[in-house]
Amino acid sequence: MMIHYRFLLEELRYGGKQVITFVICVALSIATLTALNSFRRDVHGSLIDEARELQGGDIIIHAHQPISDKLQLAVDSLAQQNYLKQQKTFEFYTVVLSEIKDSSLLSSIKAVESAYPFFGTITLTSGLQLGEALEPGTVVVAQEVLDRLDRAIGDRLIIGDVAFTIADVVAFESMRPVSFLSFGPRIFISMTDLDQLGLLGRGSRVEHELLLQLSEPGDAEDITKILSASAVPRVERVETAASARSRVRTFFDNLLFFLSCISILTLMLSGIGMQGSLSAILYQKQKVIAVTKAFGASNRFLLTQYLIMVSFMGAFGSLIGIGLGYTIKRLFPLLLGDLVPQGVGYAFHPADTLEGIVLGILVVTVFTLLPLHRLGTVKPVMIFRHETGAAKRQAAPIITGIICSLFLSLLVIRQIDDVKIGIFFVLGLVLLIATVSLTASACLWLLKRAPLPTLALRQAAKSLYRPGNASRSIIVTLTSAISVLLVIFLLKLNLFATFIESYPENAPNLFCIDIQQDQKDLFQAVVGEEVLLFPVIRARLLSINDQPIDPVQERERKTDNLGREFNLTYRENLLDDEIIIGGNSLFEGTERLPPGVVALSVLDSIAEIGEIELDDRMRFNIQGVEIEAQVTSIRSRTESRLYPFFYFVFEPATLEAAPQTFFSAIHLPRELIPDMITAIVAQLPNVSTINVADVADRFGQLMKRLSVVITFFASFSIMAGCLILISTIFATRLDRIRETVYYKVLGADSNFVLLVLTCEHAMLALFSSIMAVIFAEVAAWLICTTVFNIVYQPHWYVAGLTVVCSIVLVIMIGLTSSFGIIQQRPAVYLRQQNGT
């Protein structure tokens, strides 16, 4: 193989902007892919750690009663063989008394050994380790204990038969998230004090846990199997930390999935960009290639040279991409903060680098096939002909298209581990391109025949129809790029609207349940402001359209089951976050219902589960009393807020007399919550309060971070999209420049030329962006309604803005690339054309 270094060097030097575009495209795609894959690998790797953090051990044995002798023996024997270390914990509720004042508080006691925990962290306000602070006779408590009992560090609490000194306060407990909704705050006691409490024994309800730390964490599965054999079935649960269901894990899986989608789209856009910029390089070089061929260079020689050039650019781009990917990865912990599982390192695994290089080669190869193939079609005769003829139709683009699709499908399948979605993804893409292509042709045909008022406009329209018909491929490229960007943007907006913006700062963080009818006024008075109280009436569903509900069958359902006890409510109006999707109003046509039948509004989610439709009859048993209801409307929630919702809403008259309690969701500044709880409990002792301030804060933070990460990744796609816009317009500018020169020779002034150029680009952009908007809206709507199952808002202003921005950007790029020509005397260009 012969390599002509000078030839290559010259090509690179004069490739200019196109070479840069190419390299950036490669870098962008590799950066997103490698950063993400590396991050994902780390996350998966550290999920075990994270799960251990959450569970406190490699293996957790859990029971509501003392661990059976058989199981304990099995554990002990493994411990003797140094396979593991063990630790016991006991957890139970008790009513704690303040020593001085006559006040008490239901608290969650956890008795731990001094080495607790094996994994995870418990942060104390003093900065001490739990084991250091927790001496026999002392307790370490949650701040809420101090607040509610009006105690301080050093004061004493009575637990069971023993008085303890409060030694320290818990600031953070990593094992707590699973049980964040509890009726009482945490108190740690030392295991040595447990027996003296007098709280254990027959008639006690205690959660027994045995935490195991393995010498070889890899043995977790095997040891779990061994121990399970000794466990009492259904009573003693033996679980590995990894198998214990972790919401954090699900969260990361979901996040990575969405980001993977974005990274693939970025790759696709970059691929189009690569193809475009390489085509442009080769197009500019057509004459050089023709000359080289005239001097006897074989196709093979040329292909070799350009392949080497492309490989060089690809390698360079990949290197930049890997470097960029590393940087991005370093940013992840910043973006995600403490949401990133412990142990996600900054190191870039050699596998990541290797993967980056392999992907880089593949990406470059696949996306440069077509332009390189065209090399062979350049004929030496082009030196003598100045007008480029229309390219002949060839099989090559179709074959390349198939190869690209296949490559993308494989990549999608690899990235998101789902064959079906991969195929849908690529099919959708092919459909998009085919439709855009056909529509573009149709529109160009129409445009050619449209009576346009001014010469400039006519001229612009005709330019779009110039020989070679690059316009269609420009439109296809622009449309794909813009629609992909818009889809990402619209999905982002809709996801945020549903999950993030609907989680406002003032989301409820204190829930009060079991407020009684006669306590409504008192509750309002205690809370001190007008709060919404939701009546809750417990009932069971008996039948739908006289079809009895089969409880056995219902229990088989993976979704919510219709056989359970439901919470009914009554009210006259829709809530702020509800819309009617079936019927016209909540209780429409109540007066037409037969006597004894009442109106009922059903939420869409349960309507789906029970296949309930408008005018269906449903029978409920409200604690022995039956009512027959007819569905007068179907509601849907517009936001998945952390807010109460009810499947079944009745008219007040129907249920006002039924036994009911009230439920309230309040937002308070975090620091006021303990006092508020104290006040409520003092005045309304039967009311139970659930303090979710911590969860609410964490959830809010999570959503904010999530939005940052998604925005961050989406910006890569946006960058790739803009690059494509630029490179596409650049790639085809030679045709426009030539026409510009001809116009000038024929006496057109700069205004005319600018007008034609502006109109031409505006038409391209307008057409592409409008098509893109239609596609993006349809695609985003489909994804939101069928896949995400969230309410879709079309965000037309964003769509409009996209159209405007695309037009402005395309015109700007188009004009910039032609601007020099306008000011120059035409001879400069004509001379180049004549090759002298």
Binding site: L97, S104, Q623, G624
Partner: protein, 233 residues
């Protein structure tokens, strides 16, 4: 890993939180079989000599067992075997406290019962609610039922040892005291021979299994028979 899972990930979290919030422990509203679902018409006692309402929380509702295995259903059968043709209506609500029970007395009265078996307070205890309040609530329920000349079977409850002697004593004592004061039929401990017996309870260690309910129904039977007798007099 699908899009749906992405969506359901968020959703599960929200639904999970919302559910827990809405439904009080321990009778958490996990999927549970429905009650005896034969039609009951207000105030009518078709074919039966009368109605007995089993009022209570998840222990009465039969959380986690089939409707026919809950104690009211078993009791109805036992009564029938003895020629007592009474319908026992299951009016148990999982998670209900004594305050909730008090609030729905009027609703229960609509069933026109001859006897009410009152089993409540366990959820108050598990949430550490002041026993004084529980006592007041149950007292008011008894008074209201007696006003309507309904015979009351009160079932006593014993709180978990781990809540502390002071609390447990205050709680456990309120039932016999009320029974004495109001002269109701009194079953000292609803979960007699069942509580803390692993073989008589479900895996959660709190809710009886069918075998447990069999014992409860059998234990209850003499008290209910006595109540029926009083009611018939």
């Amino acid at each position: 890993m699908t899009f749906t899972q992405l969506a359901s990930g968020f959703r599960n979290l929200l639904v999970f939180i919302a559910m827990i919030i809405l439904l009080a422990l321990p009778g958490c509203d996990s999927p549970a079989p429905p009650q005896n679902a034969e039609p009951v018409n207000e105030g009518k006692t078709t074919g039966a000599e009368g109605v007995i309402v089993a009022m209570g929380d998840s222990l009465t509702a039969g959380l986690g067992v089939a409707p026919t295995e809950s104690y009211p259903a078993q009791l109805e059968k036992l009564l029938a075997e003895r020629g007592l043709n009474y319908r026992v209506v299951n009016a148990g609500i999982s998670g209900e406290t004594s305050s909730g029970a008090k609030a729905r007395i009027d609703w229960v009265l609509r069933l026109n019962p001859a006897v009410v078996i009152l089993e409540t307070g366990a959820n108050d205890g598990l949430r550490g609610i002041d026993p004084k309040l529980v006592e007041e609530n149950i007292e008011q329920i008894i008074v209201r039922l007696k006003q309507e000349e309904i015979t009351v079977v009160l079932t006593g409850m014993m709180m978990l040892t781990n809540l502390g002697k002071t609390y447990v004593t205050a709680f456990n004592d309120l039932y016999p005291r009320l029974a004495r004061q109001h002269e109701v039929v009194f079953m000292p401990f609803f979960l007699k021979d069942v509580a803390a017996e692993p073989t008589k309870n479900q895996a959660d260690g709190i809710h009886p299994n069918p075998a447990g309910y069999q014992i409860i129904a059998a234990n209850l039977l003499p008290y209910v028979e006595k109540a029926i007798q009083i009611a018939s007099d």
